[in-house]
Symmetry: none
Subunit: 205 residues, 4 copies
DNA sequence: AATTAATCGAGACGGTACGTCGGGTCTTATG
DNA sequence: CATAAGACCCGACGTACCGTCTCGATTAATT
């Protein structure tokens, strides 16, 4: 996604930037973060794993936070808009995507960043807010279509549904993680099903 | 709470540990973490704020992580069991407590730690799991009493209700935080009400 | 010697000081210093080796320097006045004593202290000066008696003789030490003989 | 002199080491040691005084001892070979240089280190031995030339002369230092003269 | 015998310096 | 120009030691 970048000069002069470097660095960043956590996530480690020099990293990202957030945001967009024809189908697919996202190390890292940034007064909060709002919009579109189709009453709140689905998926994933386990695809289907029923029940009331 | 401590030798020999030191240090840790976030949370800073030497800190906690987790866990137990007579009242009070907990810097820090620890393979996961299970038990007791009273059908899942309430409260709090806002007590009441209705709707189905 | 001690109150009340403690502590101090040098000479180490608590040490010496200097001075007085009847015999015996003194770990430690203290502006310099002057006096008495007996001319300088004997003995000892060797008693006799001849030659001129 | 350094890789890659840094650090080390003595000689202090980060120091010297010894050895070589045409002139110049060397804080620090290292079993002793042997050689060359010129008999011992000159100069300097005084240039000339006469008297016998 | 008071071993205390490590910057030689 | 390498300054890490302090447990001399 690399939203945080300054617009590159691209004057065509000098050696062009190595093509795959951004990717390799962001991948390395997510892997390092996934393996060692925040403490233990070092720029030297990222550079070494990506096989580049530190200056190559700092040429593209101004600091550690920015790199990590950028790397994480790119994966965060794995959760995108869906349209299966029914509100139930849409929410189910969204929930399944979420569970899979949280099961992955990089996906969970995204959540870590969000919670971390949300907790401290920070220049980056506004940016993540945009991402968060984007996700809320997906759900509101789903609910809006459901209202149009008459599946849920007009007063149903997309924001609430979003919070329930995202929040419950996150909490369930965390519990499994703390137990040291990992969700299978079948369990994800089952959990998503229950969760959607519950959310819809609330939306209908 | 200081669960992580090894049981002290307590041979009565030598100068006894200063009584209030643990408290002062943990308070200082939460304040430092709340003000500066993870980066910017330093042991020297904690010691200075608590008015103790670094050795006094390291005598009680083996490292930075352990101190922070311990400090955070102590506050985590602010959320305890409730019994108001109805499942609706119980869940409402629980939700209100949660919202208030997440509004507080130290409370949010707790969540940060949980998400962080859940993301990395770690010796501390098992411990936090215990705390997490404790919270699930509170909700399961509430639901069990609800079943006894006939408020919800026998098949209602306490774990699911817990995930919905905790997760949605967390997500809502995070959204407000990312927007830079802060929940008022009235908004908390309102949110808690909606959330409980939704959860109960799901539990009854 | 324990010159640095304040005069003890000795009011008779309370538990009397453990008799052998001073000795054990000073011995331990010299041993620790001899084994580990200045860096590596720790009060905890001394107390542990002497089998006493730190308070027992600090009750007798105000700090590390004082203890070490005191311990070292006690051994320093191993070199005392002599009177064999001839200036040659006196100086020979003095030189032999010196060589033996410098061969010993504690004796060498004494020299270390002297050089160390002489190098830094310090409250302890005056004290060591006294000791140094004492040694000079021994030699001056020897030379004065030599003058009386007509062995050396009236203008002979005791201070110069002292400097030559002490200095040359020290330098020779240092060279042997740096080579990792150790002077035998025969070598000491031989060195002392040469040294005295040289010093007397100078004194006679 | 920096003899202790491992030969550098010098692959030409990466930023080269700042040219004057070694010098600045060693100067700072000697100044700090001269001012505060061993206790009070801190790496942070050296780095600050040299205007350098601690890592820059530790990149060049493995620890405090090594730095100090290296710094001191460099100055130790201030005393070098002389050749004035007569043994008397040579020794006189050597003695004057020595007295001036010991008068200087850094010079005296050198002696401190020597005595300190000579006193403890240590990896560094062999190295200082080399320096010590070098000094002995200077004097032996002087004496050898004196023998060639017939100024002293063939059996004269350079080592003994060296010990007498170095030792007596050191002892005299120490006495003056302990008294809190400082040798003037005139006194140095006078002392050197006396000392050389005495040493030559011995060498001739 | 009870009281008083000093000393003892033990070890926690507030500090300070250690030697290491990582962040972000800068400087070289090489593409 | 960008890059890989790596030295730079800074500051936090967790450890060790200093000299102080506070314990409970002795150990006499004084009541």
């Amino acid at each position: 996604m690399t939203i945080l970048q300054t617009d590159e000069p691209r004057r065509g002069r000098g050696r062009p930037r190595t093509p795959g470097a951004e990717e390799r660095i962001m991948d390395a960043a997510l892997e390092e973060y996934g393996e060692h956590g925040w403490s233990g996530f070092t720029m030297d480690g990222v550079a070494r794993r990506a096989g580049v020099g530190k200056s190559t990293v700092y040429l593209r990202w101004q600091d550690k936070d920015t790199l990590l957030i950028d790397a994480v945001s790119r994966r965060g967009s794995a959760v995108g808009p869906v349209d299966t024809g029914t509100i139930e189908g849409d929410l189910h697919q969204l929930a399944v995507t979420l569970f899979r996202f949280y099961r992955d190390a990089a996906g969970w890292a995204t959540l870590r960043i969000y919670v971390d940034v949300a907790g401290a007064p920070d220049r980056l909060r506004g940016f993540l807010d945009t991402i968060g709002a984007m996700h809320t919009e997906f759900v509101e579109e789903i609910v809006a279509r459901g209202i149009q189709r008459g599946e849920v009453p007009a007063g149903a709140s997309g924001a609430t549904v979003a919070e329930v689905v995202y929040g419950a998926a996150m909490m369930h994933s965390m519990r499994i993680r703390l137990e040291g386990g990992q969700l299978t695809d079948e369990e994800i289907e089952q959990q998503a099903h229950e969760l959607v029923e519950l959310a819809l029940c609330g939306a209908r009331a």
